[in-house]
């Protein structure tokens, strides 16, 4: 089989196939990209294993992948912000640009968002892909295309820390030490948090969190969220001002509320069951705000500046590497939970 535009397609639950597809042509305002690196996200794995996330259902074959970087190979009509040969990070969601959410600057909430690898829209785990040029960000020479791909999860961290209000001197609790917990740890520290505590049920993940800068870690063994909260408070020496919940596990969300200082803020990044029982009175009477976080908005330039300046080092997040031809193996490795970020190299 020719593999000029080898593409990883999820045909249906459990069925990923590598197929050659036509090379797409850029329309007005778009660029064609020779894909370089694509990281695997938990959502990609979830669609593969379950065929849906909430109301997003895989009803037709869909290309996977959305944490990506590429090299501009062709310019569509009217593109002035990029040149052929530019190495870029690709922000995977293109909104409608016209609705009130878009016009208010919250395009992540656009009801007509076209997001890579969220059905029915194709992702970019392929050799070639086309995208709107203004959502492609040129990488400086010293930032690798692997780091470019990592700007996607890093942007989740930027958005969550902004929504929480993390700032100089903040004490922060991050629940969950997976890739999203880790990027939140990195961003919180970079933006001036003085103390960050990370919780998880997995010892190995907590070791990684410490290596990446966590001031303290708490291994969750108790089923009582108040007890876990007490352990966090003891480890930090006080209640955190902000808590970034990245696991989606209901007991962890409850812990987040109990632990947070009065007047503080809990942001919910992790996604678990759609309905969760929470200590709402505790949150209300202590004015602990609860804010949702969905993907990111206007974060890519910030994330890029943080990586380019060295304020954040995302390279250690990559623990496994595969070539595009071995994507299925890459997905199986991710499913086994062996590492942190599995990165796929797409060039021939």
């Amino acid at each position: 089989m020719s593999d000029t535009n080898l593409t990883a397609i999820l045909h249906k639950k459990g069925d990923i196939r590598l197929e050659d597809c036509p090379i797409p042509e850029p329309g007005p305002g778009q660029v064609q990209l020779c894909m370089q690196h694509v990281g695997i996200c938990g959502s990609d794995v979830h669609y593969w294993q379950h065929g849906y996330i909430g109301d997003f259902v895989v009803r037709a074959p869909m290309v996977l992948g959305h944490e990506a970087s590429g090299i501009v190979s062709k310019l569509g009509e009217g593109v002035t912000n990029l040149n052929i040969g530019d190495r870029v990070a690709i922000e995977p969601g293109v909104p409608c640009r016209r609705c009130m959410d878009c016009k208010k600057g919250r395009y992540n909430l656009c009801a007509d968002m076209k997001f890579c690898a969220t059905p029915p829209y194709d992702g970019n785990l392929a050799r070639y892909y086309v995208h709107d040029a203004d959502f492609c960000y040129k990488l400086p020479d010293h930032v690798s295309t692997e780091e470019g791909a990592l700007l996607e999860p890093l942007s989740v961290g930027v958005h969550a820390c902004r929504r929480a209000g993390v700032t100089l001197g903040s004490k922060v609790l991050v629940c969950g030490a997976g890739p999203i917990g880790l990027v939140n740890l990195l961003v919180a520290k970079a933006t001036g948090a003085s103390q960050v505590c990370v919780t998880d049920i997995d010892e190995k993940r907590l070791v990684m969190a410490k290596e990446m800068g966590a001031d303290c870690v708490v291994k969750v063994t108790s089923k009582d969220p108040k007890e876990v909260a007490a352990q966090v408070i003891e480890a930090l020496g006080e209640k955190p001002d902000f808590t970034i919940e990245c696991s989606g596990a209901p007991p962890s969300t409850r812990t987040a509320i109990f632990a947070t200082k009065s007047g503080g803020c809990v942001v919910l990044v992790g996604m678990g069951p759609p309905s969760v029982e929470l200590p709402i009175i505790d949150a209300a009477v202590r004015e602990v705000d609860i804010r949702g976080v969905f993907r990111y908005v206007n974060c890519y330039p910030t994330a890029l500046n943080m990586v380019a300046s060295g304020a954040v080092n995302v390279k250690p997040l990559i623990t496994h590497r595969f070539k595009l031809e071995d994507s299925i193996q890459a997905f199986e490795t991710t499913l086994r939970g062996e590492g942190i970020k599995v990165m796929i190299e797409c060039k021939k």
Binding site: R98, G105, N298
Partner: protein
């Protein structure tokens, strides 16, 4: 098109052919950007409007791809298209074409004139949002022209405790009182900014928490800094001389925030809702009416300054 109001900028382009160095009339262009109409045809892909819909028009066209557009501050888009700002042509005609997402349906109880007034009202609304006006505030508005009046009407709708409008012209202040200003103050020749600041404070029962400058006068810039209470916010809307001397040490010592306010963002639906529920009454601002065929007379009237808002009726027959 139904109604188009005349703005000071339209008069300025007509009379001077330019505003500043950036906006120069070098080719024929239509004037008019405060407008309302009836949808007569739909372009491809338009789903939220129907032929026959009565609408108000936000004069913007924006690129939607730059940083300013993406953060929701499209009024700052470097490639912005704005009706009747050269080289962009306006809407003073029987027919006009516009980006559908900048066109807003009017409820039955909002007139075409009110629809056209949403433009200047939006300047006031945006200034109040920029200034984070809120219930209970004492507010100073400098200038009782249409923009000052719209800032006053907007401020009242935010539930502020009192609005004092200043001007040099007594008849404009009389009009301001008629349309809702709780206090007015005429600035007398020879008065210093400090004196006026003290009088405003006495009238309002305290220094203003918020000041909105709508006159373009250097005097008002100084007044804003001197009058505004420590920790307050001073919003500058008026376009006057570009370089102004003002008491910066007072600004620093009082931690006053000075914020520029330029046109508006995302105000049309709010303005429609506020007019429709009766919380803002803009209709009295229209003092003179002309037909499209009488446009030159309309402009002469606007230039003379005898009224507040001159409205042109564009419907045929």
């Amino acid at each position: 098109m139904q109604k188009v109001g005349i703005c000071g900028s339209d008069v300025h382009y007509w009379h001077e052919g330019r505003i500043g160095d950036r906006f120069v009339v070098t080719a024929p262009m239509l004037l008019g950007h405060e407008c309302s109409g009836v949808v007569s045809k739909l372009g491809e892909g338009v789903t939220h409007l129907k032929v026959g819909d009565r609408v108000a028009i936000e004069p913007h066209g924006v690129c939607r791809t730059c940083d300013a557009c993406k953060i929701g501050r499209y009024n700052l888009c470097p490639n912005v298209f704005f009706l009747a700002t050269p080289p962009d042509s306006g809407a003073l005609a029987r027919y006009h074409v516009h980006g559908a997402d900048f066109v807003f349906k009017l409820p039955d109880n909002v007139s075409f004139e009110e629809g056209a007034l949403i433009e200047p009202l939006s300047v006031g609304l945006h200034a109040c949002r920029r200034g984070r006006l809120s219930m209970g505030h004492r507010v100073l508005v400098c200038g009782a022209g249409p923009i000052g009046l719209c800032a006053m009407l907007s401020a009242k709708a935010f539930g502020v405790a009192a609005v004092c409008v200043t001007d040099i012209d007594a008849s404009r202040l009389q009009f301001a009182r008629e349309v809702g200003a709780t206090h007015t103050l005429q600035i007398r020749p020879g008065q210093t900014e400090q004196e006026v600041a003290e009088e405003v404070t006495k009238l309002l029962g305290g220094a203003p928490d918020r000041t909105i400058e709508c006159s373009g006068a250097q005097f008002a810039v100084n007044l804003g800094v001197l009058a505004t209470t420590p920790g307050g916010i001073f919003v500058i809307v008026g376009h006057g001389p570009n370089k102004v001397e003002f008491p910066v040490v007072s600004l620093v010592a009082k931690e006053i925030e000075i914020l520029g306010s330029f046109r508006y963002i995302n105000t049309w639906q709010t303005a429609i809702d506020m007019i429709a529920c009766g919380k803002i009454n803009v209709a009295p601002l229209v003092t003179h009416r002309f037909r499209l065929e009488e446009t030159l007379d309309a402009f002469r009237c606007a230039k003379s300054g005898v009224g507040v808002k001159v409205m042109i009726d564009c419907a045929q027959g």
